[in-house]
């Protein structure tokens, strides 16, 4: 498997094709327009569909229409654009259609900035739209993981018949890293004949299919919500992903951090290790389902005195960390979110303040 040096945004586009997704709808927005530019060239080469919609709102519903008729489909956007797709994501969840959304986060709120950020954690994991729904959210920490998570997302979306989100940031999108596309991550599309509006002739059936989310009857609506909830419970059992870094030592402080921020933390951990200071990192790879037990276990290790959530935001994941530590340890937070990424030295300074 030859490695190739690729920009994150383009690698994510290529990953979709390698995963068997031939349909991409999107709207330009910095810092991820390169995905669209790349797929505008690539999709025709594989007889795929590329279309730039008139807005992220419209794109959200192009995704919904295409998915609801049984085809694999993806879109990519960035923070403000993902806000505009919030309603469609709620509809897609309620109507139970598979779809892959990629958010290459930029600074917010408002027009914010175009530099990397992690300010959409709540939007992604607590619901950016209305109603009780969840996205399955995966957070890569670099271009290779962005590729692998994107490729896996299509199978997961079909397994759970719902939207899956890859939550990257502007750094992952813009930087270049050597990357490979594992061909064992390509999954065959699932059979969708019992629900997708693929045309009765296509299904050789005279039973028509209906994709909707309106349930005026309270019992029907409650049942639909219970069906969604059962999927989210299943995700919590089967889809939790995380990484422990330096957690086999007697660390005094546990950092909880994800994505780009967690890589900086790893560097600072290595540097402190040389000074004889052991610090552990618990890195969630799945943000929903959140690695609750892993965070609790790592926080309550004998040697660990305190926990700190380090994010490129004003503090969002920290609330989940506090929830999972259950008061067993002091939980602190450090974050910056103008777009500058905290340096390892800054992290070391913060950690030393806790010792």
């Amino acid at each position: 498997m030859a490695k190739v040096l690729m920009k994150g945004n383009e690698a994510i586009g290529e990953a979709a094709i390698r995963a068997g997704c031939k349909n991409y709808f999107a709207y330009p927005i910095t810092p991820q327009s390169e995905v669209a530019e790349y797929l505008a060239k690539r999709m025709p080469e594989v007889d795929g569909v590329f279309l730039q919609g008139e807005s992220e709102v419209a794109v959200g519903y192009m995704i919904f229409g295409a998915s609801a008729c049984g085809e694999r489909v993806m879109t990519t956007s960035s923070s403000p654009g993902v806000s505009l797709m919030g309603e469609a994501i709620s509809y897609i969840s309620a109507a139970q259609c598979p779809a892959v959304f990629v958010n290459i986060m930029r600074g917010g709120p408002g027009l914010g900035g175009i530099l990397p950020s992690q300010g959409d954690y709540f939007q992604a994991t607590k619901g950016g739209g209305h109603g009780d729904y969840h996205l399955l959210v995966l957070a890569p920490d670099g271009v290779q993981e962005a590729v692998e998570m994107t490729m896996k997302a299509f199978g997961l979306a079909e397994k759970y018949r719902g939207p899956v989100m890859i939550l990257g940031d502007g750094l992952i999108g813009q930087m270049m890293e050597p990357v490979e596309f594992p061909d064992d991550l390509m999954t065959e599309p699932s059979n969708k004949d019992d629900w997708a509006t693929s045309g009765m002739d296509t299904r050789k059936s005279d039973k028509r299919n209906l994709v909707r989310s309106l349930f005026l009857d309270p019992k029907e609506l409650n049942d639909n919500n219970l069906a969604l909830k059962a999927k989210y419970e299943q995700m919590k059992k089967e889809e939790v992903l995380y990484e422990g870094y330096n957690t086999d030592t007697d660390y005094k402080v546990l950092i909880v951090s994800y994505g780009t921020m967690s890589r900086v933390c790893k560097t600072s951990i290595d540097m402190m290790k040389q000074d004889g200071i052991e610090v552990g990192l618990l890195r969630p790879k799945s943000l929903f389902p959140f690695p609750e037990d892993a965070v609790f276990k790592a926080s309550t290790k004998e040697s660990c005195q305190s926990v700190i959530s380090i994010e490129m935001s004003m503090g969002q994941m920290v609330e989940d960390v506090e929830r999972c530590v259950k008061g067993q340890r002091k939980v602190d937070f450090y974050g910056e979110c103008g777009g500058d990424i905290p340096t390892p030295e800054k992290i070391i300074e913060i950690i030393k303040g806790l010792l």
């Binding site: 008139e54 709102v57 192009m62 509006t197 045309g199 009765m200 994709v211």
Partner: protein
């Protein structure tokens, strides 16, 4: 002497929820007749709006999707792009299409998306109980224009067929009405032609249908037809506004 008449197969046998005399039911029948006559039910996917016709899928027997308010043209675009072999139609009211969904319909028409839109223009918001729509007439009362539409505050009613015909992209843009048998028969031909253009993969097709809303106009069904004839037709002139070569 005489002829037969029966319910088209593409209509389900459910009773509709529409108010007595509401011409939605006529529009549904004409669409179903077009689908039957072209023999395309097996590959047709309808898209219901948000509005009185949100439950349209209960009255058709083909595959159906239910759109968010105003977004049916985007969903139709999504289907047509990934499955160009499917016949797709959106069925939308004036609040759905001309208000919240204006962006979607203009861009779908401008891209020349090869689906068919059935646009019910009854100059009012029906489902939510009679609010003003972009197509509400000057001085026409609505629950959000209790003294009648004040065009100084809310502008003039929007004529969708006239608007869409200005797009340079080829398409079939027509305005018909459902107010008497002659108009209905003409509307039936126009709807069938719209679907034929799609079956041939020729162009985007848009059929605006001047319709009634007896309940929210506060008129009997027959008087509503008369009011529409006298008040709507002079402003919303019928005819083909754009026909592809």
């Amino acid at each position: 002497m005489g002829k037969s008449f029966s319910t088209p197969k593409s209509l389900s046998d459910n009773y509709t929820h529409y108010c007595p005399g509401c011409t939605h039911g006529i529009a549904h029948r004409l669409v179903a007749q077009a689908i039957d006559e072209l023999g395309i039910a097996g590959r047709t996917v309808g898209i219901a709006p948000v509005g009185c016709a949100v439950l349209a899928y209960n009255y058709f027997t083909c595959d159906f999707q239910e759109a968010a308010h105003g977004r049916a043209p985007a969903m139709a675009t999504g289907i047509k792009r990934v499955r160009p072999d499917l016949i797709v139609f959106t069925y939308q009211g004036d609040g759905d299409l001309a208000s919240i969904g204006m962006g979607e319909i203009i861009h779908a028409a401008n891209r020349g998306e090869k689906f068919t839109t059935i646009f019910i223009n009854n100059a009012i918001y029906g489902m939510t109980g009679g609010q003003m729509a972009p197509t509400t007439m000057p001085g026409q009362r609505a629950t959000t224009a209790p003294a009648g539409r004040d065009t100084d505050q809310t502008g003039m009613p929007i004529r969708m067929a006239n608007l869409l015909k200005e797009l340079v992209t080829p398409g079939y843009i027509t305005r018909q009405a459902l107010l008497n048998p002659k108009q209905i028969n003409k509307a039936k031909k126009a709807i069938k032609k719209a679907f034929e253009y799609q079956v041939e993969g020729k162009c985007f097709s848009f059929v605006e249908l001047i319709s009634t809303c007896p309940t929210n106009w506060g008129l009997t069904p027959v008087d509503a037809l008369k009011w529409a004839e006298d008040t709507l037709l002079p402003y919303y002139e019928l005819g083909d506004y754009k026909v592809p070569e």
